[in-house]
């Protein structure tokens, strides 16, 4: 492991140790290294912190959500990358987590990590561990413009061919901390036929794409989780960019920012009154 990662680990352990010892939080949610992989873990004792990993990747926001649901007065710290923080903010918007009970320890991604995820903001709002790589843009220009420049027939051929690989494992849904409705449309036989692989075009993937449109923070977890190598993030990224250019909306930026797909009848006074 290189020096940067070692010093990041030291920083993360130091902050966690202080938080636990000071009794400010009941535990620190971070990744624990076991042999050659990582698992999300709630560190509650100082001696456990030896195993804390800053190089592992796992969207921990969903774990934080479930933890706080079951533990009504618990208060935790979360070692969070930029995307983890944006996940938590989106969950806060849905009132699914109580952000007052979460202390975020901001973890900056390294350049290599940012590149791997084609990240456009690989750092949380406040960096405490590591150093922010600054304003970078590792957007996957090549793949995205390839998709945009296709004509509609090519694009349909491209997607039908790729989506035919789908084995409907629901990995993209399960890994996503924000794709967490209790009743999932993708499990309803009205919308998706049961026992069929691949799922019919275009229902399965477009329903998910639409549902995630104003929530996706671009963490790339769905694409990494896909065992069949379907480049789902390309679709999500372009949809995100569309909402940004059309309404200036960006998911995960601010807990008070309302999705443009929700129009509040009371706030929208500009709209002329209806039929009285």
């Amino acid at each position: 492991m290189d020096e940067e990662q070692v010093s990041k680990e030291e920083q993360a352990r130091k902050i966690s140790r202080e938080l636990i010892a000071g009794g400010k939080v009941d535990g620190v949610l971070a990744l624990l290294e076991i042999r050659d992989h990582v698992v999300p873990h709630l560190f509650t004792e100082e001696k456990e912190l030896e195993g804390l990993s800053v190089s592992g990747r796992y969207p921990v926001a969903g774990v934080a959500e479930r933890l706080l649901h079951r533990w009504e007065d618990g208060k935790i710290a979360v070692l969070a990358r930029g995307c983890d923080e944006r996940h938590l903010i989106e969950l806060g918007k849905k009132k699914s987590v109580d952000l007052d009970r979460i202390r975020i320890i901001g973890l900056a991604c390294t350049i290599a990590e940012a590149k791997e995820c084609h990240c456009v903001r690989p750092y949380p709002t406040e960096v405490e561990v590591g150093r922010s790589v600054g304003n970078v843009n590792y957007r996957d220009h090549e793949a995205l413009s390839e998709l945009i420049n296709m004509d509609i027939h090519e694009r349909r051929e491209f997607w039908t061919k790729i989506l035919d690989r789908c084995i409907k494992c629901y990995g993209c849904r399960n890994v996503c901390p924000l794709c967490n409705c209790e009743d999932c449309r993708l499990e309803e036989t009205r919308w998706i036929r049961v026992g069929e692989i691949p799922p019919e075009y275009p229902s399965f993937h477009l329903i998910r794409a639409f549902h995630m449109a104003d929530k996706c923070v671009g963490c790339f977890a769905c694409q990494k989780a896909c065992p069949m190598g379907i480049p789902l993030a390309r679709l999500h990224q372009l949809i995100k960019e569309d909402l940004k250019s059309e309404y200036g909306f960006e998911a995960g930026r601010d807990v008070d920012e309302v999705s443009p797909l929700l129009v509040d009848p009371h706030a929208a006074a500009k709209v002329k009154g209806g039929r009285g």
């Binding site: 998709l147 945009i148 004509d151 509609i152 027939h153 090519e154 694009r155 349909r156 051929e157 491209f158 997607w159 039908t160 449309r185 919308w191 019919e200 075009y201 275009p202 229902s203 993937h205 477009l206 329903i207 794409a209 639409f210 549902h211 449109a213 679709l235 372009l238 949809i239 960019e241 569309d242 909402l243 059309e246 309404y247 443009p260 797909l261 929700l262 129009v263 509040d264 009848p265 929208a268 709209v271 002329k272 009154g273 209806g274 039929r275």
Partner: protein, 150 residues
């Protein structure tokens, strides 16, 4: 639109006449009667189409349209109240935003966004709605059937 779609030239002659099948969703406040809406479709098209009434165009979920394409319908129509006339004040504003996004997603997935027709219709001016629908049907005919095209 992120993508720049060009419709195929309308001059392309169809060997056999292609009659599109449509899934039509309409708001109950500007068009209370589904059978009446069916009557606004061109005759041959209406036989192959389904018409459903919603409480408001905002009730139109993306799933309805996506599933209709999945079932093989060639086009999806949404009819809602004119802007400023929504019974729920902003239902149609919300619907407009969502349907615009849905069109964008369809285009990215390789489906002509024109297949989704959105009409803000006045109950007092049915002729122009009828005409807009007729024009829309012509567009779908030039685009072709959903199953083997796009």
């Amino acid at each position: 639109m992120i993508t720049d779609e060009k419709l195929p030239g309308e001059s392309a002659p169809e060997a056999d006449e292609f009659i599109p099948s449509l899934a039509v969703f309409h708001c109950r406040w500007c068009q209370p009667d589904s059978e009446h809406v069916r009557g606004m479709l061109p005759e041959k098209v209406s036989d192959r189409s389904i018409v459903g009434r919603l409480n408001c165009s905002a009730r139109m979920e993306a799933e309805f349209g996506i599933k209709a394409f999945g079932e093989g319908y060639d086009g999806v129509i949404v009819i809602g109240c004119e802007m400023g006339e929504c019974h729920y004040r902003v239902g149609n504003v919300q619907a407009e935003r969502r349907l615009r996004l849905l069109k964008e997603i369809l285009a990215l997935a390789g489906i002509y966004p024109e297949r989704l027709g959105v009409f803000w219709a006045s109950p007092f001016d049915e002729d122009s709605t009828r005409q807009a629908i007729a024009e829309y049907v012509e567009t779908i005919r030039s685009v072709g059937p959903f199953k083997d095209r796009d």
